[in-house]
Assembly symmetry: C2
Homo-oligomer: 258 residues x 2
C-alpha cells in the first residue's frame, strides 16, 4: 500500500478531474465511494478497478487483496477533495466503465427501459436502481440524458449501476433494430390510453420513460406500438418519473411471476 499525501499527486489530480463528465468520457472511468457501494463493487468481479483510495481509519475494515488493484493510503483532507459527498466514508475506487454489447440484447433481453432526455441525476439514479430491483435486462439512454456515471447518479443507483447493463447514445436506428427483432415499443402518456395493467408485459418490450417536463420526444412517440397511462387523481400534478417507472416495472414482474 502506497501513501499519497500531496494534492499535486497525479492520481489525486486525475481523480478530482473525474467529477467532470468530459474526463469521464475521455478516460472511460468513473468513481464509486462509500461502504455500501464498495460491498456491491466487491460482489461484481467482472468490473475492473483501476485503484482504490483509503483512509487509515477504515483500512482495517477491508481485505485489500479483493480489490485486485493498487491501493493508496490518503488522509481525510485528500479524501474530502476527491469525494463528491459532504461526509466521505473513507474509501473510494476508480473503476472502468463496463462496455456492454448491444447485439446481445436482441437474443437475451426481454424487458428494456429507455430513458428519453432524463436530465435529473436523482431521477436517473432511482430509475437505474429500480430497473435492477425489477429484473430489467438493460437501460438504454438517449443522448440528451445526464451522464449515468456522474457521481450523483452512481450514488443514487445504490449499486444498480454496477449490476445492470447501461447503453448510452441510443439512436432511433438502434430502436428500429430492436423493434425489427420483435421488441414492442411502449410509450406512456398522461392522456387517455390503455391502463398500464391492461398491457401484456409478457412480450418483449421497450418501456420509454420521458422527462418530467417534456415527456417523450416526438421521434419516439410516433414509433410507439402501444401507449399506456397510469390512472391518477385528475386534479393532481403528474407523477415523479422514478415513481412512474417503479409502478410500471412492478407490473412487469407481477405479470411474469404469475
Amino acid at each position: 500500500m502506497k501513501i499519497i499525501s500531496s494534492r499535486d499527486n497525479r492520481y489525486i489530480k486525475d481523480c478530482i478531474k473525474l467529477k467532470m463528465r468530459k474526463y469521464r468520457d475521455i478516460t472511460g472511468l468513473f468513481v464509486i465511494e462509500g461502504k455500501r457501494m464498495m460491498e456491491e463493487l466487491i460482489a461484481c468481479p467482472d468490473l475492473k478497478i483501476r485503484h482504490v483510495f483509503i483512509e487509515e481509519s477504515v483500512a482495517n475494515d477491508y481485505d485489500l487483496e479483493v480489490f485486485n488493484s493498487e491501493v493508496f493510503l490518503i488522509n481525510s483532507k485528500l479524501m474530502a477533495e476527491i469525494s463528491d459527498t459532504d461526509n466521505p466514508q473513507g474509501i473510494l475506487a476508480v473503476v472502468e466503465q463496463p462496455i456492454w454489447n448491444k447485439e446481445n440484447l436482441k437474443k437475451d433481453a426481454s424487458v428494456l427501459v429507455l430513458l428519453d432526455g432524463i436530465t435529473d441525476p436523482g431521477n436517473m439514479g432511482t430509475i437505474i436502481r429500480t430497473s435492477w430491483v425489477f429484473n430489467v435486462d438493460g437501460v438504454l439512454l438517449t443522448s440528451g440524458c445526464v451522464d449515468p456515471y456522474s457521481h450523483k447518479v452512481v450514488r443514487s443507483t445504490m449499486g444498480g449501476i454496477l449490476n445492470i447493463p447501461i447503453f448510452r447514445n441510443i439512436t432511433i436506428s438502434d430502436i428500429e433494430d430492436l423493434t425489427a427483432a420483435n421488441f414492442s415499443l411502449l410509450g406512456s402518456t398522461v392522456n387517455d390510453a390503455k391502463k398500464y395493467y391492461e398491457y401484456d408485459f409478457t412480450i418483449p418490450t421497450i418501456i420509454i420513460i420521458g422527462s418530467e417536463g417534456q415527456g417523450m420526444s416526438s421521434s419516439l412517440a410516433k414509433r410507439c406500438h402501444d401507449l399506456i397511462t397510469i390512472p391518477i387523481n385528475p386534479n393532481a400534478d403528474s407523477l415523479n418519473a422514478g415513481v412512474a417507472c417503479g409502478i410500471i416495472l412492478s407490473e412487469v414482474l407481477r405479470q411474469r411471476d404469475d
Copy 2:
C-alpha cells in the same frame, strides 16, 4: 405595492429565518416559491398568504389582487437571499401552515399514509406528491420525520403539500385511536409476507412507510394488523421509499377503481 431594498428590512430578515425549522415551528409559517408552485397556491383559496415578494421582471405576469395579501417589490439580490434555490423564479410567498383536524380522519378518511422516521427531504416530498396523485386522504408523520414545511420538501411535493392534509407528531396513541375507529394498520417488509396486490385495499387502511435504513419502528411493527411485501429480484438492493410508496398507492387506486 411597497418596495423593499434593504436586507435589514424586517420582512426580509424574517423570511430568511424561515429557512430554519425552529422559526417555521415558532411562527407556523412556511415559504413557497417559483411559478409552478404559485399557480398551485392561487388554486388553493383556503390557504392564508401572509405576504408575497416579487421581482419587477415578473410582476406583470401576475394579477397581484389574487394573493389577497401585501406584495413587496424586491430586487434580484434580495430574492437570492430569501430563496432556497440556485435559480429563483422571481416570486416567493410566505404562507400560514394549514391546521387540520385529526378528528375528521375517523369519519372522512379511508386511506392514510404514515411516514415513520423519513429523514430525507426528497423522499418525503416525493411521497407527499405521490399521495396527492393517488387520492390519499392524509399523510401522518411520526416525530422523527424531517419537517414537511422545509423548503426542499415543499419544492419536491410539486404542490402536493398545499393539497393534502398533513398531520405531524403522530403518536402511538393517535394510531390506536384510528385503529379503534376501524382502520387496519398495514406494515411493509422485505421478508416473506403477503404480496402487496393480495391485500384488500378497499378497507380503511393506514399504510406505514418506514425509513430506508431502519424500516418501521418496533412499536408500530408490533401493532400491525397485516404485513405486505413488494416482490423484487432477490440479488438487488431494496427499493427507494418513494418508489415503494408509489407502487402500493397505485394498487390502492386500482382496486378502488375496479
